[in-house]
Symmetry: C2
Subunit: 551 residues, 2 copies
Amino acid sequence: MNAPRPVRAPRGTQLTAQGWPQEAALRMLQNNLDPEVAEHPDELVVYGGTGKAARDWPSFDALVRTLTTLRGDETMLVQSGRPVGVLPTHEWAPRVLIANSNLVGDWATWDEFRRLEALGLTMYGQMTAGSWIYIGTQGILQGTYETFAAVAAKRFGGSLAGTVTLTAGLGGMGGAQPLAVTMNGGVALVVECDPSRITRRIEHGYLDVQAASVDDALRLAGEARRDRRAVSIGVLGNAAEVVPDLLARGAQIDVVTDQTSAHDPLAYLPVGVAFEDWAGERAKDPAGFTRRARESMAAHVEAMVGFLDAGAEVFDYGNSIRGEAQLAGYERAFAFPGFVPAYIRPLFCEGRGPFRWAALSGDPADIAATDRAVLELFPGNEPLERWIRLAGEKVQFQGLPARICWLGYGERDVAGLRFNDMVASGELSAPVVIGRDHLDAGSVASPYRETEAMADGSDAIADWPLLNALVNTASGASWVSIHHGGGVGMGRSIHAGQVTVADGTALAGEKIARVLSNDPAMGVIRHVDAGYDHAADVAADRGVRIPMREG
Amino acid sequence: MNAPRPVRAPRGTQLTAQGWPQEAALRMLQNNLDPEVAEHPDELVVYGGTGKAARDWPSFDALVRTLTTLRGDETMLVQSGRPVGVLPTHEWAPRVLIANSNLVGDWATWDEFRRLEALGLTMYGQMTAGSWIYIGTQGILQGTYETFAAVAAKRFGGSLAGTVTLTAGLGGMGGAQPLAVTMNGGVALVVECDPSRITRRIEHGYLDVQAASVDDALRLAGEARRDRRAVSIGVLGNAAEVVPDLLARGAQIDVVTDQTSAHDPLAYLPVGVAFEDWAGERAKDPAGFTRRARESMAAHVEAMVGFLDAGAEVFDYGNSIRGEAQLAGYERAFAFPGFVPAYIRPLFCEGRGPFRWAALSGDPADIAATDRAVLELFPGNEPLERWIRLAGEKVQFQGLPARICWLGYGERDVAGLRFNDMVASGELSAPVVIGRDHLDAGSVASPYRETEAMADGSDAIADWPLLNALVNTASGASWVSIHHGGGVGMGRSIHAGQVTVADGTALAGEKIARVLSNDPAMGVIRHVDAGYDHAADVAADRGVRIPMREG
Ligand SMILES: NC(=O)c1ccc[n+]([C@@H]2O[C@H](COP(=O)([O-])OP(=O)(O)OC[C@H]3O[C@@H](n4cnc5c(N)ncnc54)[C@H](O)[C@@H]3O)[C@@H](O)[C@H]2O)c1
Ligand SMILES: NC(=O)c1ccc[n+]([C@@H]2O[C@H](COP(=O)([O-])OP(=O)(O)OC[C@H]3O[C@@H](n4cnc5c(N)ncnc54)[C@H](O)[C@@H]3O)[C@@H](O)[C@H]2O)c1
């Protein structure tokens, strides 16, 4: 066929492939391109700008054809979205091995990547796009929820109730902020300069109300804070004006962050430019626009530091706004930390991180049953309980029903084994796949995000994601992937993924027991090695072996 | 102990570890540091400048301790020479997984590497140093032999008899040239400016004679050429003078190459500088020295192009002399090709490449027996027969007895299975390990060497070595490694290695059958994908599956 067409994964228990691991890869590939899931399915783009599931339509067809006939002791090799080989392996081996967008260091640039892409020789796989485990915006929502839960745990006794979080940006990532804050019980006050973004977020249920003015927003926020009511409030304005204004007024703000697209100065609206004139001004004088945007970011960050000085919890949410403000000459830009070192790394030390699964049946009842199982398995984990309950209420499935939550070392395997038993017993109507994204403890080297400011300075060491991929391959994962450049771009990250199928067989159980403990164990190990005491305690308590500490 | 000490692998059939795969890793780690094998064993440096087998002595001790107790269903993780974890896997999984020197692209520089190394966070693993399968200088000799055999095959009907090869440089790599040429039946005329290097090569049996002068050298070479006698002749001089001189005289030269260390202009002696003054001149004025060295290289390369125009076979042997000559303004520098595109790539298209093994018994008789087995298995392969015979005569073992030769797809598994049978039957007195180096078809991305000038421009795509490591992990290799920067330095290569143990068991046979066909299959696949018809023919003939060509 070789041409764009609507793609949708088969549902139910009828196999179209030679076994469930192959069937799972086939369905998840197709699911990634489901119009409900993918941003631009005709171009095979799943999410994240140009993150693709297959290199081109002929490659997609060859993937489907090969997966359909692949035996349980064969392995298909995928090089940046194209199937390049099928080799005889064995039943413990992954059915698919994937390498996406990898380039030798000196050539690891967007220019060389684009050149090779234009020649049809590579594709950008992002994280879960090219490794067939994207589940829609639930992933972003949950990651953001988890971050705010960690803020709450660190500073506010586990809940944001009675606090106001001030942030800006309601775009692709940032739009998850208001709902993530209210799911943690807090008040979100979000500044956005694009009125259509505010409207859309309200329509989709991610934002509760739009305030008529900054005054109105402050009043709404203050009341909700006092009443410990969770509510999210959007306010139209330029963050570089509104945030300093709120500081000057002495507004009661407890948490401050930002998800405007500050990483690209042309995508940050400077003070003095009307929203309507943005495109024109930027096109007319990109250099001047950049300078003005940076000056505005400096004002924005200076106000964030003001809130910090006033006692608020302040963090950079991965958009480089500190770096841009510093370029504009503001000296205290790095007075507040990035979100990973501040909140996420302690979780990584426990091997805690993303755990997602999808029901190959297509039946939402299967996810409901697994939700109940997770709640049963981990009683007393209040943020987890809250997330599962609220996700059940608020998250619309896109494509195959799926769920994501964060679990630690010693938990993921327990959940995976339970799911496998539920498949075996018929409690679930078909197998489930279990994977994760790449905001992860032991499978990522990304010095601007996951491995920023490691205690020992090892931010750029890329042995870890490679070992992670090798370990998952050696432990029985159904498919394993190694990627370059996800999230932060070419030259800036190396990361690995795994997906493991729970088809109810004893063999799947053996594999799950290994993969879902070894994968998070890599997070514990990586952080022990970097000198984190908390990780060393976790390793000692739970029996993760560290050879340098033995003998 | 934690301090330098002499290390030597145990010999014989007594296990010190829990099984032969673990024992093999233990012995090969120790063997890499045997004073007979390693260049600077006290510093854990095996070869290639600073290529190490373990990060530091405490790491070495922890490696030994861990390997000694490691079970047959456990896997040890090694991050740049340090054991960082032990995880439960299964009996088909590798016992050791290794990642050496890997850095995220934007940080993939010597500066950042040195910074991290000084912090004790990484080490340079080169290729076979950090993955425990170095076997001494035999490897270099054999690679050079294979290159000249390929020159002979391409141009001279399979033998260099009756031809003269002109080259320069008798250093660490280059010193193998004269013996490799005479093993192919030819006459080698080698220019070297350092008298001690000539003397040493004669002492070690790598060079036959030193000529008294260029006239003398030409006479000796001419006679041997006429008589079709294999002889190697060293001549003291500066290649930038001698090579143009020989061209001007109309010398009968059939093959021209060079292995002076031209990649570093400070390591190339310019015309007009006496050998004795080299160090002083270089220190006094590095910039001026560099300019003069480049000018000399331009004269040297211009003469090489002169021989090309006169009909000789001329190639760059991986020392960047063409690039340096071009920097000096010589326009036709790239008139002759690099050795990989010229001779090696057609072999890579067949999955042909390095295959080495070592006898864990320590008994040279085991290698003699495997030599005979290889000759029996592949009758009619004249260059192989010649190599095995001459290697048996000329190569002194260093550390555990070992052999290397080049075999293709469909051959390596056959040889490996035979060795395994010989262990089982007692024909060999102990198990053997089978691995390879990284001048390889499907496990390297190295745009200045192995993947220079790929037909489709895919030189820098690094998905292939990563897939290779994943495939070997999924096929039953005993240990698998992923390295950065071997040979050509930081930022310039990504490559993977595997070693598989033949311990005579049926399971080892199953693993060997898969690893030793899948590993070279990656070479065939990589070259089919890059558009080489010869590889496509090989794949079609021998049944290597290429999904894009099916259906
Ligand atoms: N924390 C993480 O893990 C993570 C992950 C991905 C992206 N990011 C970063 O987060 C940022 C946001 O990502 P996104 O996908 O939502 O981007 P986006 O471009 O979709 O949205 C940015 C929003 O900011 C608004 N904006 C720009 N300038 C403004 C100003 N001066 N005042 C008020 N609003 C303004 C824009 O109108 C837009 O709606 C990016 O910089 C991205 O790199 C972080
Ligand atoms: N083909 C490959 O696979 C491969 C592998 C490794 C290295 N190399 C390259 O091969 C080159 C040689 O490597 P090596 O390890 O032998 O280097 P080396 O430094 O040990 O030896 C170089 C020799 O060249 C001699 N020399 C320098 N200038 C000269 C001149 N003007 N005239 C005559 N002799 C001169 C030196 O005295 C020295 O003996 C290097 O550039 C290296 O990068 C190629």
